[in-house]
């Protein structure tokens, strides 16, 4: 067992020339992309949630006690997401899923990102079946962020068309 582990570590070290710390922590069944995103998560951090151009999605997985926050900054003129940040307290798969989600939403239109499916994230990260809910969480976080942004926008615009939608969302 010990030999196996050391072999793995040495093998990695010689192949890549650098040993990334969490590689040893995560079991081998994880896809290298999960490990990559877990090790070097993209877009970690926060945006100002009071900024009217920022939408915040806050979701949780009640079964495992994970929390995921995904924020998007939207260009009001083009409707394009110009920046994204996330903060996730959860397992490696949840972190990787939200990291991927934050990358994928950048530079896209709002209506485009709400079509991102958890299955795409899961497939990209080769998540095992027990981890599918992590990608589901990421999908829900995107939707929640968009919804939050739209609700804010409707509120500030006070436009007759958008207001009922926001009210419906709040109800």
């Amino acid at each position: 067992m010990l030999r196996l582990v050391s072999k793995k570590v040495l093998g990695l070290a010689s192949q890549e020339g650098l040993v990334s710390r969490p590689v040893q922590v995560l079991p081998r069944m994880y896809h290298e992309r999960v490990i990559d995103h877990y090790d070097k998560p993209r877009n970690v951090g926060s945006l100002d949630k009071n900024d009217p151009t920022v939408g915040t999605g806050l979701v949780g997985a009640p079964a495992c006690g994970d929390v995921m926050k995904l924020q998007i900054k939207v260009d009001e003129v083009t409707g394009k997401i110009v920046d994204a940040r996330f903060k996730t307290f959860g397992c490696g798969s949840a972190i990787a899923s939200s990291s991927v989600a934050s990358e994928w939403v950048k530079g896209k239109q709002l209506e485009e990102v709400v079509t991102i499916k958890n299955t795409e994230i899961a497939k990209y990260l080769s998540l095992p079946p027990v981890k599918l809910h992590c990608s589901m969480l990421a999908e829900d976080a995107i939707k929640a962020a968009v919804k939050d942004y739209e609700a804010k926008r409707a509120k500030s615009n006070g436009s007759a068309t958008a207001a009922p939608a926001a009210k419906a969302a709040e109800a």
Partner: protein, 261 residues
Amino acid sequence: MWKSKVWNLTLLSTILRRRPTLLSISHFQSNSTSHFPPTISRTSYFDFLGNPNFPGKTFCSESAEKSHVHVRCWSCGNVANGSLFLFCDSCRSIQPLDQSVDYFQIFGLERKYDIGVENLEGKYKDWQKKLHPDLVHSKSEKERGFAAEQSARVIDAYCTLSKPLLRAIYIMRLEGVDVDEEETLSDPELLSEILEIREAVEEAADSQELNQIQSQMQEKLDHWSSSFANAFQCRKFEEALNSIRRMTYYHRVNEEIVKKL
């Protein structure tokens, strides 16, 4: 099979001296923290929580009593005395596993959430003195199998009942309410509270700060545990589920604190 292996490695004397390793609610993130070393408690949770199709009705004490009316010892043929028949008192043979006996019955308890946890350990040890696989190592393979299953189930029962959160989830299951919540939670009040606490844990400078958060979490856990007890007693299962959700989140915070301490 996994369990019998574990058991072969664990001496009876060790078991009786020490309590089983309680990893608390590690099953909740057994998926999330997969680098967890395999432990007895971790496997055991997969048994009742990891199996989504676990038929709730088999837990019913009524059906247990009925099916036990004419149960005889497989070894000496003695008629079972009562519904709880894990062990034959006349020939000391370990009986086959009966899933219809619930954890509360194993510990001779009424099925309610508020139990005296301090009495569990003694009962647990009493069972292991009768059911531990080491006691039957020279007996038939069949009985060794029974011993492995029975003693593992007694561990499951002990681990489950001694932890408030696990006990809450279990007792809900007995009522046919599945707590395995797959859907995403979007309660902003709870989630932002948790996010804040988790950030505080992450940024805590020293163990004193961590201990402080930990005691806050314990207060919250106690509060929601009694909320659960009330809701469950009134059969307000939606409220009871809400309490479990809260407990899960605060418990998770505690686990993170323990990791850091």
